[in-house]
């Protein structure tokens, strides 16, 4: 598998590690009433068959966290952004 790192260009997956779903958001509150949200964030997964946005870490390269959109059935990759940009968009409600 080749991942096109926005910084380093296409690199094989041996330089990366994957962490899973990037669409879940860490809840902002520590209020016990938000426990359900936390549980959802830490434990539950949509686990889709098909398009999936996921975190990858370019540990064997520039050490950036990336968000890769990939098909979990075909492994086709549609796009890669940095986790930083993704998070900022997420916080602005864009994703």
């Amino acid at each position: 598998m080749l991942i096109n790192c926005p910084y380093c260009g296409p690199r094989p997956s041996e330089e990366f590690t994957q962490l899973g779903d990037a669409t879940v958001q860490r809840p902002a509150s520590n209020d016990p009433k938000t426990m359900d949200q936390w549980f959802d964030y830490v434990y539950l997964r949509d686990n889709p068959k098909g398009r999936f946005k996921e975190y990858w870490h370019h540990g064997g390269g520039c050490r950036s966290w990336l968000v890769v959109e990939r098909d979990t059935q075909t492994h086709e990759i549609f796009g890669v952004t940095t986790a930083r940009d993704f998070a900022q968009d997420q916080k602005k409600g864009k994703v």
Binding site: M1, P12, S13, E14, T17, Q18, L19, G20, D21, F39, D40, V42, Y43, L44, R45, D46, N47, K49, F52, E54, W56, R70, T72, Q73, T74, H75
Partner: protein, 416 residues
């Protein structure tokens, strides 16, 4: 038709033209008492024990592909009960006990081979961890032995003792562990279930679950709607997808695990041996191929195939452990989809939906569980309550903070 030497000889006289099918190819009935989704090891054994232990025979197993096409047909066939934690150990030991009498029970030679499982260790902390594990087994009377380097050498003199990057210090041995001919397990259970009246329906994909007033009514399938009173999910790597049909979101991710087989060889390795520093485990099939595997590819996947980095990782570890492998050729690689749970342990439980039961989260260790999983799941479905053995495998354990995490890596399924 009972299988025996005599039936074989008798049939050979008639050119083997009179063998009865091992299972029927029935058309689905309108309704069943119990429908099991998934014709893998767990689904088939569940049906078998529902019929055999609970007398529930109006049962269908729905399989989207061919019988045994899932992980039961693609695993590295290792069975053992060398678990550490209370939630796991008694369950897997019960499974091993069932394996020990299985073939006579279902009249099919699945080649249960208790050739011993040896886990190597290479450091003091690893030794301590294995001592802890071995002691957990001994507490319940399960066989386990802690071997030192010389004792390991006696069993497997061909391991890399000399020029190793991580010298072998010893190993944990469970002699009752071993291997089983994987496909035959599916076939034996299918035949056993079928002969007790269970309908095994291949090429029948479940595409929807009908629920009314919080109660299961039936399933939509590629062969039309089929009603049922109870529905058990045993869809392994596809559990999330099927559970989503009932509106459930699970603590599960699907990951690919690869396995490999070498060209056929004369007897080369007698036991199952696992490496302690890289991910590698190997045994030799009765056909002569070295069957081996390693770690997950490390990314979510529903494709039953992996990529080269993992192939290299696994095989590098293999030769680090057994240098003699170098010139042996790897024949074939394939993959299976694991339902990786968030603590590495399975779930066998009722759900909040009346009549819907869940069996999933087997990660890469569910083959050895096949008998006990079916046995416990059948119990749970028949009695509508968990058996003592599967009581810890509750779905709500994550929410409540009672994980059964043997590896201690937390909610990171690709590390389990």
């Amino acid at each position: 038709m009972r299988y025996s030497v005599f039936s074989l000889l008798k049939n050979s006289l008639s050119g083997h033209r009179n063998w009865a099918p091992a299972w029927r190819e029935p058309t689905p009935k309108k309704e069943y008492d119990v429908i099991i989704v998934g014709g893998g090891g767990h689904g088939l054994s569940t049906a078998y024990y529902l019929a055999k232990e609970h007398g529930i025979t109006n049962v269908a197993v729905l399989e989207k592909g061919w019988l045994g096409s899932g992980n039961i047909g693609r695993n590295t066939t290792i069975i053992r009960s060398n678990y550490l934690l209370l939630g796991n150990n008694p369950f897997y030991e019960w499974s091993l006990k069932l394996w020990e009498g299985l073939e006579q029970d279902f009249n099919f030679n699945a080649m249960v081979s208790q050739r011993g499982v040896l886990n190597l260790f290479h450091s003091d902390p690893q030794r301590d961890a294995y001592a802890r594990r071995g002691n957990a087994m001994r507490l319940d009377g399960v066989d386990s032995e802690l071997l030192d380097r010389e004792a390991v050498r006696e069993i497997a003199p061909f391991l890399s003792f000399d020029n190793a990057r991580f010298p072998i210090q010893g190993g944990l041995l469970q002699r009752r562990g071993g291997t089983v001919r994987h496909d035959a397990v599916a076939w034996g259970y299918a035949r056993g279930a079928d002969s007790r009246g269970v309908d095994i329906i291949q090429n029948c994909e479940v595409t929807g679950i009908r629920i009314e007033n919080g109660k299961v009514k039936g399933v939509e399938t590629s062969k039309g709607y089929i009603g049922c009173k109870k529905l058990g999910l045993a869809a392994a790597g596809n559990t999330s997808e099927v559970a989503a049909m009932a509106g459930m979101k699970l603590p599960i991710e699907s990951h690919v695990l690869q396995a490999f087989v070498s060209e056929g060889l004369k007897p080369y390795i007698d036991n199952v041996i696992t490496y302690g520093v890289g991910h590698f485990y190997v045994s030799q099939s009765d056909k002569g191929g070295l069957v081996f595997g390693g770690d997950l590819d490390g990314y979510n996947s529903y494709a039953r195939r992996g990529n080269m980095p993992t192939v290299e990782h696994v095989i590098e570890a293999g030769v680090a452990m057994i240098p003699g492998l170098a010139r042996i050729r790897v024949l074939r690689s394939w993959g299976g989809i694991m339902d990786m749970s968030m603590d590495g342990s399975p779930i066998i439980d009722k759900t909040h939906i009346d009549g819907l039961y869940l069996n999933c989260g087997w990660c890469y260790g569910g083959f050895k569980a096949t008998p006990a999983s079916g046995w416990c799941f059948a119990h749970t479905i028949a009695r509508n309550e968990a058996h003592k053995l599967n009581a810890p495998y509750r779905l709500d354990r994550f929410e409540r903070g009672y994980m059964i995490d043997e590896k201690g890596v937390g909610a990171t399924p690709n590390l389990h």
